[in-house]
Amino acid sequence: MSEYCAYTLRVNGRDREVSDGWLGESLLWVLRERLDLPGAKNACEQGECGSCSVLVDGSLVCACLVLAASAVGRDIVTVEGIAGAIDGSDAVLSDVQEAFLTEGAVQCGFCTPGLIMAVHDLLDRVPLPTDLEVREAISGNLCRCTGYGRIMEAVWTTVRLRQVGGQAR
């Protein structure tokens, strides 16, 4: 079997062809370098920092730890597709993304895409989390700029707005 092959990944609702991909390439690498989706970030590439977080069949994973070729046939959602993936709308920003901006949760922004994915994943599973549940859920996402205070605030804003609005955007 060749080390190189062609395969198809379903990313953000679209089939994307990977031609001449080396089988050793991680999903993170293929998203960033072959599919032009650099939103997932490469801060440690060993599953410690969470900045490459994406959803694979609805599960939050570190894209750096997933072989791209093993994700064939799975439904992959990245930060680039999260706004549209929630309800299929053409919204530019999801409620979590909007809250990150409003509450000042973004500084350098390198951890931001991963945290956006982690917060979506948490609030879709646990609509009314406790403080400790939020901290635990995002404890796999390292942020060096914010000290997490504004990120926590963005989570609470999203929770509040979802309660008022009744649904996620």
């Binding site: 960033r32 032009d36 000042g104 973004v106 350098c108 390198f110 939020v134 390292l142 700029c145 000290g147």
Partner: protein, 771 residues
């Protein structure tokens, strides 16, 4: 030419204004780069791509000290897809580089002086090919015994490990009656470990050769022009042919003030004639930038029976590692601020920065003030205990204020609200905190899986005060340049200021809106096509580049008002801009009331201005002189829970007050306070690069731990003390570093309070408590 193919943008959204208000100074205006950052569209340096791009990789020494007998590159050249291999011999210009002193070789050639020192760099079609080539390069080392103890390094008779010797700087500060002795004397020796900045974005950049023989470098850096000068010197090119562009920066904290891969990728790009991109791995990043200096500090404080400090003696040894970087300036800060913002009539202090075979150290948030703050605050607590005085009262009794003299003889002429900062922080109501026995397991020291017995958890409270200079010191004119262009109500401002996450881009727009009365402010890309903005460090960019933008906008404003005045036959002095409108002052006729955007259709107004702060001066042989521009003070009060048997610590709460001059953007300031405090907590309880005989043992996020959301308590801001600083734009002091300085000693004081242990070293490790 350089992009990721899908319209990734670095500068976007010309005018994102907060929901209420105009987006001027004082409002919590949103970041202009926020939307692309939450969407994953913001182009960090590691996201860049160019047609025909190659990937670079760096060969590094596995030894901290060795003689290089030979380097065999042939194995690399045999691998298909390898396009270039460069070593010391391929550097056409200056083979040495360095931010303050060019004492570091671009590649090691005769000897290796630290673990991870670059030996060669390769460029290949695929990063894995580059990595394979790297491994195929054979370096024959004669392994030497590393010199890792800074005291031995500077001791009489120790052979130098570098032609420039083993002493980076020796700084004496002597003042007052040094023969005086106190009624009470307390003494202590304190240590600070080596901290890593750990920005989430690793070092990365893209170099693109040009047809003119020059090069364009897209880079994440803190100081474009300092990089430009060093790259040009090593490439033997005129600076005009080395054009640097700021790519998206994934955090900095001091780690990007020195060159890392800049010269290497430019060499590879010029050799191959193709664009070359390099992205450090996390492991490599630990070797690829300078760190916070480990320090060993001896102190002896003398005080009267009623608690007034009469003299401080001290000796501070900073390990600068293999190359100079900014060791000299770090040591100056450490020594100048070593006694804290307290009135100290006599000092006898010696600061020493040594060269060793440890990792090079340089800038990190707090820059020297962090280390000595850990020492002087431990001493203040020790003095309070010895005297039987409340530690807050002792600090208030000795607090400096405007008009007082520093230990360098410099009279503080600006704002120095030490007493307000101490009182507001110390007297802030303690938040209601759950007792350990009522807390879930996850909220106990050690968190999940490291079971603390709640019944054995002890709670402690600690307090600390710190201070630091703003801007560069000792005679260095770290000016900043900015331009402003105004046409039909749209302002375009440009500066080479490196936005590294701190939010300068937001402030730049706020300043332009405030001065010019416009809504739309476009930020031109930061690059070397304009004069230097100086470094994004030393809490200086709001003051320096904010000041430059304010000056440029004020000149443009004057030109606009002159134009309108001439058209209406009114003196420019009778015109003003209020909100978005040009209006005549009360007595002027005719009455003018024009929208700024409509005031001069089709007429453009431009200005380029340089902003310089007040001059500073070198320290004399006794360490005396007006070396600093301005000072900022902050305090922290920390609450910790400690499992004394296992030595585990959880920081439960932290309260802070800070001297900020004026709040320009409340939300962004809060981000600096919380983020800086987190880095200080990290240094208190978890962060340390471990070296054994010069070898790094923990270069990964698995083994070098930074605070997670579970480690970080809420930060309670007791007060942001606003006493406008004379000479600072809008009266604002820089706020980037203050939160990092006093947070570490406050947390360690709280652990001492909980455990009764002396804990003279930070970070505090489990065995420091439990054994």
């Amino acid at each position: 030419m350089v992009n990721s193919g899908t319209g990734l943008s670095i500068v976007t959204d010309p005018s994102v204004v907060s929901a209420s208000g105009r987006g001027v100074i004082g409002e919590s205006v949103r970041r202009p780069d926020g939307t692309p950052k939450v969407q994953g569209r913001f182009a960090f340096s590691s996201d860049l791509w160019a047609e025909g791009m190659l990937w670079g990789a760096t060969v590094r020494s596995p030894h901290p000290s060795a003689r290089i007998r030979s380097i065999d590159l042939s194995g690399a050249w045999q691998i298909p897809g390898v396009r270039a291999v460069v070593t010391y011999d391929d550097v056409p210009g200056n083979k040495m580089f360095g931010l303050e002193h060019a004492d570091q070789p671009v590649f090691a050639h005769d000897v290796v002086r630290f673990h991870g020192e670059p030996i060669a760099a390769v460029a290949a079609d695929h990063p894995d090919t580059a990595r394979r080539a790297m491994e195929a390069i054979v370096v024959d080392y004669e392994i030497l015994t590393p010199l890792v103890d800074p005291e031995i390094a500077i001791a009489e008779g120790t052979p130098p490990i570098h032609p420039d010797g083993n002493l980076f700087r020796r700084l004496v500060i002597r003042r007052g009656d040094m023969s005086v002795s106190g009624d009470v004397v307390v003494e202590g020796t304190y240590e600070v470990g080596m901290q890593d900045q750990a920005p989430l974005g690793t070092e990365s950049g893209l170099a693109v050769p040009d047809d003119d023989g020059g090069i364009d470098l897209w880079i994440s850096t803190q100081w474009l022009h300092a990089d430009q000068a060093q790259v040009a010197a090593s490439l033997a090119l005129p600076e005009a042919k080395v054009r640097l562009h700021l790519a998206g920066v994934g955090g900095a904290f001091g780690a990007r003030e020195d060159c890392s891969l800049q010269i290497h990728i430019c060499l590879l790009a010029l050799q191959t004639g193709r664009p070359v991109k390099m992205v450090y791995s996390r492991e490599e990043s630990f070797f690829g930038h300078v760190h916070r200096h480990p320090a060993r500090m001896w102190y002896r404080h003398h005080a009267t029976r009623d608690g007034r400090i009469v003299k401080v003696e001290g000796r501070f040894v900073f390990d600068g590692g293999a190359y100079a970087s900014t060791s000299s300036a770090v040591l100056a800060n450490a020594t100048c601020f070593s006694t804290g913002p307290y009135k100290v009539p006599a000092v006898d202090l010696l600061g020493l920065a040594a060269r060793t075979n440890n990792l090079p150290c340089g800038a990190m948030r707090g820059f020297g003030a962090v280390q000595t703050c850990f020492g002087h605050e431990a001493q203040m607590d020790k003095l309070a205990t010895t005297l039987g005085i409340d530690p807050i009262e002792l600090r208030l009794l000795n607090a400096m204020q405007t008009g007082d003299s520093c230990i360098t003889g410099q009279i503080v002429t600006g704002a120095l609200p030490v007493e307000e900062v101490i009182r507001s922080c110390a007297e802030a109501p303690m938040p209601v905190l759950a007792e350990p026995v009522d807390s879930p397991m996850m909220a106990l020291p050690g968190g999940a899986g490291r079971t603390a017995d709640a019944a054995g958890v002890k709670r402690g409270v600690g307090f600390a005060l710190g201070w630091k200079n703003l801007m560069f010191s000792e005679g260095f004119d770290d000016f900043s340049t900015a331009s402003c262009h105004l046409l039909d109500g749209v302002a375009t401002v440009k500066s080479a200021c490196a936005e590294v996450g701190q939010g300068f881009v937001t402030l730049a727009q706020q300043i332009a809106r405030t001065v010019l009365g416009v809504d739309d402010v476009i930020l031109a890309p930061a690059d070397t096509h304009i004069g230097s903005a100086g470094s994004t460090s030393a809490s200086r960019q709001t003051w320096m580049s904010g000041g430059a933008i304010e000056l440029a906008c004020r000149t443009v404003r004057q030109k606009l008002l002159s134009h309108v005045g001439a058209a209406f036959g009114v003196s420019v002095d009778d015109l003003d801009i209020v909100d978005r409108r040009i209006v005549s002052r009360h007595s002027a006729k005719p009455v003018i009331d024009l929208d700024v955007a409509d005031a001069a259709p089709g007429v453009a107004f431009s200005a380029v201005e340089e902003h310089h702060h007040a001059p500073t001066f070198r320290l004399d042989e006794n360490g005396q002189g007006n070396a600093h521009v301005s000072f900022a003070v902050a305090a922290h009060r920390a609450v910790v829970d400690v499992d004394v048997e296992l030595g585990l610590v959880r920081v439960v709460e932290i309260t802070t007050s800070m001297d900020v001059g004026k709040v320009l953007n409340p939300l962004q300031l809060l981000g600096q306070v919380e983020g800086g405090t987190a880095q200080g907590i990290g240094l208190a309880v978890m962060e340390e690069i471990l070296l054994t005989a010069g070898k790094v043992r923990n270069p990964s996020f698995t083994d070098y731990l930074i605070p997670t959301a579970l480690d970080m308590p809420p930060v309670n801001v007791a007060q942001l003390v606003e006493v406008p600083e004379p000479g600072a734009p809008f009266g604002a002091k820089g706020a980037g570093e203050s939160p990092t300085i006093s947070s570490t000693p406050a947390v360690v004081a709280a652990i001492r309070n909980a455990t009764g242990r002396e804990l003279p070293r930070t970070p505090v490790r489990p065995h420091d408590i439990a054994l």
